[in-house]
Amino acid sequence: MTNTAGPLDSFRGEFLRQPLNARRVAGALEAPGCQRRTVLDAAAVNLDKLGSLVSGLPRDRQSPFALTRGNQFEQQVVANGMAEIVSLARRHLGLEIPEVRQHDLSASALREAYPGVTGTRMNELRVRLTRQRAEEMLTEPSQAYNLIRHAMTRLDFGGEIVYLEQDVLAFAVDGRIHVVEIKSYPCIDGRADPTKASATVRQTAVYVLSLQQLMVEIGAPPDVVNTTTMIVLPENLSFRPTAVTIDIDMYVRRLRRQLASVPQAAEILDGIPTGTGLPAHPADGASADEVAAAAMAVREALASLPPRFTDGCVSCPLFHHCRDEAELHRSTARLGSAVAGVCGNVTDIAAALDLAEGRRAPANASEAAVAATLARSAAAARFAAGGLA
């Protein structure tokens, strides 16, 4: 499990570390096949700091007002014995009336019972308690808790232990565990912002996967953890909670495949020159020269890690850097995933244009296929332009 930690740690060197969370693991789904991102994630590099250092732009932070609103909504939803969750889980997850046994595993709640336990020890304690509660669900379902607030599970991401905190776990006595996620972006006329909704789905998939792994650990079938999850959102422009259920099985399976390929991060590192690593992050009061030197060192280190630039990259903190790089190399990836897909293994924009205009003969069968598609498109574009003129 820790055999990858060595080279990855030395790659990160003195650069700032940031423990992984569900959101970041979900990022692995957004950038499939990106070796650069995989290595940086597995090495637990602080991506926000890295991104703003290398691009010279401050990273957009979530507005404090949005954060406050999110917290207020979550507080309201779980207030009074999770009254709103109880009501929504009965309606959407089919929980029975007596299935309201509840338990709070939040760090702040456990601090009352376990004073002085903090940090990783608190996380481990919560993981252990979550495991016990899950075992109770399997051995004595009618005595087990039905709603667990802030359960915590672990996930192995390329040797890095990620602690994941689920908003609520809902357990039906007939043997189903559902993940409930509380978000504060509005659900207007039954529809939520698709970008935000898909981010939530990917994040929730990480929770489901780690819970399924927990089930396997305690010797239960993983499908006890139902892939149908409940997302709680404010209804329209009010603060009243509403819920939608989504089956995220596809995302969970995709994530599982991707996680299985993560340990290869060490192999990627094997392929790059030894001694390649990130510099120390410049101190707060560092001069412009020092910052520039650090940014240059970061660029050199990143250059040895092959990126895969796609449409999903927009949410990555390194987006600006990778985009500029794609532009510099005149890569077809810069034009979007659709164009890059059409161009196949012709990755250079100039080469693709030459093929389209017939200035260069295709070198092999795959290039011939690309050339035919591009030539047809070029003819259509000429016709359209001519027709308009």
């Binding site: 014995g81 109880v86 009501s87 309201v100 338990h103 939040s106 709640a109 004073p115 481990e124 808790y145």
Partner: protein, 275 residues
């Protein structure tokens, strides 16, 4: 002599205040509404003047609280709200109830201080035999397995132990009981200024009970729905709570029975942190 002058002013104001208060008493007794209203304002003006004079000559005297804050002490606010809900309540519910029923603000941030003060006060009353113990203390609700305080949930010491323990079903059971109590209270304050906010609070809580419509539910409908749900879960909850209460009485001393098991340094073994 400035000091003498200030003292004379103060005596004058206090005398005027006493007269005004006497007159106010007479006006109220005789039912002269207009006169009582005028005198009430006059008294308020005189009181402010008196306070200014006292502060000028003795800057050390603590200023009275701002008129925007409630004059009811936090402790009394909490006890009053808990007597109304009748069950262990979150700080949030205490604050909501106080706002709806008495139109006052509760400073929930100070609740943890209150809890600590209550603990100290109780301790003193035990140590000094001459000291009168209070009738009731604001205590934390306790978990039913380890008897540790439940975060942000308060109860009254006068309640039976079982009621102060939170078993798995208790959060829901207590919420339903509180909703019934609030619905009954909403009916009794009908026709007053407090009716509308009480109805809103009751309807908000009631909306999560099966069979209650989401907006504008009537108190009677909410009470019936809550009792119907209670019928299914209350028996188990009472059993779990009373068993836990028996264990608590067998294991805990008087203080822990009210304020929870003593906070102690937890070893890494007990916390399960080191491996």
């Amino acid at each position: 002599m400035v000091f003498m002058e200030a003292a004379r002013d103060l005596i004058e104001v206090v005398t005027a205040l006493r007269n005004a208060n006497d007159a106010l008493l007479d006006a109220t007794m005789s039912g002269d509404v207009a006169e009582a209203t005028r005198l009430l304002q006059h008294v308020a003006v005189l009181e402010r003047r008196r306070n200014r004079l006292v502060h000028k000559s003795n800057p050390g005297v603590a200023p009275s609280t701002s008129s925007y804050e409630s004059s009811v002490p936090l402790r009394d606010q909490v006890i009053r709200a808990l007597q109304l809900t009748g069950r262990p309540s979150s700080a949030r519910l205490v604050s909501d109830v106080t706002k709806s029923r008495w139109a006052e603000r509760v400073d929930t941030a100070k609740l943890s201080y209150l809890r600590r003060d209550e603990g100290r006060s109780w301790q003193k009353s035990q140590e000094l035999p001459g000291r009168q113990a209070r009738d009731v203390y604001v205590v934390p609700a306790l978990t039913y397995d380890r008897f540790t305080p439940v975060r942000g949930t308060v109860a009254l010491s006068a309640w039976p132990t079982g009621l102060r323990l939170i078993a798995p079903l208790s959060p829901r059971v207590d919420m339903l009981h509180s909703t019934v109590a609030l619905a009954e209270e909403a009916s009794t304050v009908a026709g007053t200024n407090y009716e509308a906010p009480m109805m809103r609070l009751m309807a908000r809580l009631g909306a999560t009970i099966p069979g209650v419509k989401p907006f504008g539910a009537e108190p009677q409908a909410v009470i019936q729905a809550a009792r119907a749900e209670l019928k299914e879960i209350e028996e188990t909850d009472e059993l779990e709570r009373s068993e836990a209460a028996e264990r608590a009485h067998a294991q805990l001393d008087a203080k822990a029975l009210l304020f929870g098991t003593q906070i102690r340094a937890v070893t890494s073994h007990a916390a399960g942190g080191s491996r």
